[in-house]
Assembly symmetry: C2
């Protein structure tokens, strides 16, 4: 790489929030290790902040701070580290830096998901590098794996827990039985969720990361509208409990799979069997499982967010730049898989369905809904129910052999006939399921079966 | 790298067993992917086998096979792939290849653990590369991670499930309650264990791999005698059951930790809390957890052995060689941590102890042993017991606040006083444990407590 002064690299940091502070501290604390491994002394020459007056807990030379991006771009600069987030001014400053031949390291998933292809093209044109390990899964080197390791393998599928906020909330809902809204407040207090949590809890953040991973794994440019997206806000604590009784954990999973129609991309809560490598990834941890044709299944896990894990990814990108490792394989985002919006998958699969109702209506609703499902040639693998604090019950089913669309229709029909059924949840189930023994019986015998369910409640 | 013929790389394979066959097939099947990603056509020019007459299931040109290493070394050769295992002739052939400037890729953990430093020095002297990703944890790119990724981070500790045979046996013992010897026979029938399983089940194989990982993580040359080593042959099925009741899984763990006296290295069965990232790695899967100062904890898991996972690691080393990525960071095995043999750790820790006895002797043995332990200022965190098929009981304890040596002494003493106690097991316990409430009481009150244990049995 081109760095003017031998043995010394001049770095500017855009943003001095949690990650920016972590990057600055890591450069100071691990200066000696970086020098020994790369031969370079790292010198921070400027830090772009939003507010010069803000009090900093960091021990930092205030003369480095500026509010003006021009100061950064016109100053002494070899590598720009962008950890401020958001599309602007990040996009403009990064583009300008790359155009002037400076290398850029970014943690900005939204920017890379939306404008990564253009920025990488600018970098290539001007002989600069654009590295973005920190944009996905914090300190887990999954970008490096896809770019530099799995080259002889062909990737068959990716699934990952890509958002630490959601994973923390789901873990706590399962552990404590408390509801989403309450845990979200805890998460905010702990710094695990932002004041406006929409991007995290509605799955946008995970969708950005999935787009970046899919870009690399399939050499494909992804339109974010091709990603089916559903957040975690509709889940009830009872769903976590019911899933556990069925033998599953509920996780927000970003998933890319090859199918006949192209790539199937989604971010949505899924039931994972407890033996699934992602089922035991808890709290703010992230994990990514890659299926590849030769190696089989590889899983990487670690802290997906926070000051130091993300700073680690940034600093490792910096050392890769300094040692020349980043020169290896530029991402090729040329293949366009599918243009336009996401189209629903109509393949038969396995589904978790739950709904609330009054106990006295449970039997009637159950029989009517099951009749509808069994008419669709669905089978039932298992059922569980819990009584809620207000006296209502939440019933749940694992059904298989039927497409999502049919299940969704049956739920709409359920709303109409059993007026007390509310807040239905429909989630995909990973892995094979089999008909439960009792459900091989004809529908007419179900009435008696349902009595036993009511006793359990 | 130096490859004579542009656009084509000539490869010889030493060994055509499970892994060798996988390498050959992968080169054929993924030829197009490799060509696209590296620009090279891979040409297999020779395969060294032990027995030319052996029947091969593989679709292979028999003219490629030879029993004479000289044929390989004097033939057309850019890269030598060694997947035959054992020290000789592998060591000699690899040394000769490196001396003639040929690059070598090896899956040989014993060779790398015992002679890696010399071979890497020969490679360096002759401008050749020696790559060995396949020597540890099959297709999991942990070598690549330590060599090429964690450069700004300082590694603080490594622990891993490094032997698939042992992990399969322990998983099956826990799942079925069947004993070691029986499961070992299953493992042989399934091809998961060799006819002579000593290297696997006694922990030698895992110790080789631990030495290689430690070399890289700490830039240290490791003498295998510095690794405390204990296999899985003494474990009873009841121990897996008891550990489960205490809230733990038992796994054979290779572990390297920095301590005041230098590195503490061991391969031994350990109790891991069920929330530990390695506790849920089952069957023939391997996993490695790396603790580093900036990133925190990273875990990599995948298939640790078998035809294709190991072939994947070999082929990815080959593509790294062809794209120049292997030039990045050569391992530096210069620091010598400790010369001489392993010295036992005397630090207080947490321990699992179990022993068999006749039910009528249980109370007396328990009181005497506990008195000895409590005199040593140990505390008891929990106790569990199971009745065995022959009417004996197996009692187990989690004790803390005491060094391993003291527990070991108490067990020897136990043999003398309670003559019926046999086959005691002592294992380290990961994570913090706390005194169980009832054990804060003075020793004199324990006699009555033990009554309740006998009722439970």
């Amino acid at each position: 790489m081109t760095i003017e002064k031998k043995g010394s690299v001049r770095v500017a940091i855009l943003g001095l929030g949690t990650v920016g502070g972590g990057v600055y501290k890591t450069i100071q604390n691990n200066r000696e290790t970086i020098r020994k491994r790369t031969g370079y002394e790292v010198e921070v020459t400027a830090i772009l902040v939003r507010d010069l007056e803000k009090e900093r807990l960091l021990d930092i030379d205030l003369a480095l701070l500026t509010q003006n991006p021009e100061d950064v771009l016109n100053g002494e600069l070899d590598v720009l580290i962008e950890v401020m987030g958001g599309l602007e001014p990040a996009n403009t400053v990064i583009s300008q830096a790359l155009r002037s031949g400076r290398h850029v390291i970014t943690a900005n998933k939204e920017l890379m998901a939306k404008h990564g292809a253009e920025l990488l093209a600018i970098a290539e044109e001007h002989g600069a590098h654009l590295l973005f390990e920190a944009s996905v899964a914090g300190g887990i080197p999954v970008i490096r794996m896809l770019q530099g390791y799995l080259t002889a393998n062909r990737v068959k599928g990716i699934s990952g827990i890509l958002n630490g906020t959601c994973n923390y909330i789901l873990t706590e809902m399962a552990r404590t039985g408390r509801e989403y809204a309450e845990i979200l407040e805890d998460a905010k207090a702990l710094g695990y969720a932002e004041a406006d949590p929409t991007s995290d809890v509605e799955g946008y953040d995970a969708a950005y990361k999935l787009a970046i991973l899919t870009n690399l794994a399939y050499d494909a440019k992804i339109d974010l509208r091709q990603i089916e997206r559903e957040g975690i806000t509709a889940l009830q604590a009872a769903d976590l409990e019911l899933a556990d009784r069925h033998g599953y954990a509920i996780k927000l999973i970003g998933s890319a799979r090859e199918s006949q129609g192209g790539l199937q991309l989604s971010v949505r809560p899924r039931l994972l069997p407890k033996s699934h490598p992602l089922a035991n990834i808890n709290d703010v941890f992230n994990a990514v499982t890659i299926q590849a044709d030769v190696v089989g299944e590889l899983t990487f896990s670690g802290r997906g967010a926070g000051e130091f894990p993300t700073a680690s990814a940034v600093i490792e990108d910096l050392t890769a730049l300094l040692t020349g490792e980043s020169a290896i394989r530029r991402p090729v985002w040329k293949r366009i898989v599918n243009e336009g919006v996401y189209e629903p998958n109509t393949q038969p699969g396995a589904w978790y369905v739950s709904y609330c109702c009054r106990p006295e209506a449970a039997q009637q609703i159950e029989v009517e809904w099951l009749s509808a499902m069994l008419t669709q040639r669905a089978f039932v693998a298992s059922r569980e129910a819990v009584q809620l604090a207000d006296g209502a019950v939440r019933q749940s089913w694992l059904v298989g052999g039927v497409g999502e669309q049919e299940v969704r229709v049956s739920l709409q029909w359920l709303y109409k006939t059993g007026a007390e059924a509310t807040t239905a949840v429909l989630l995909p189930v990973e892995g094979e399921i089999e008909p439960g023994v009792e459900w091989r019986q004809p529908v007419s015998s179900l009435v008696e079966e349902t009595d036993s369910v009511r006793h359990v409640l």
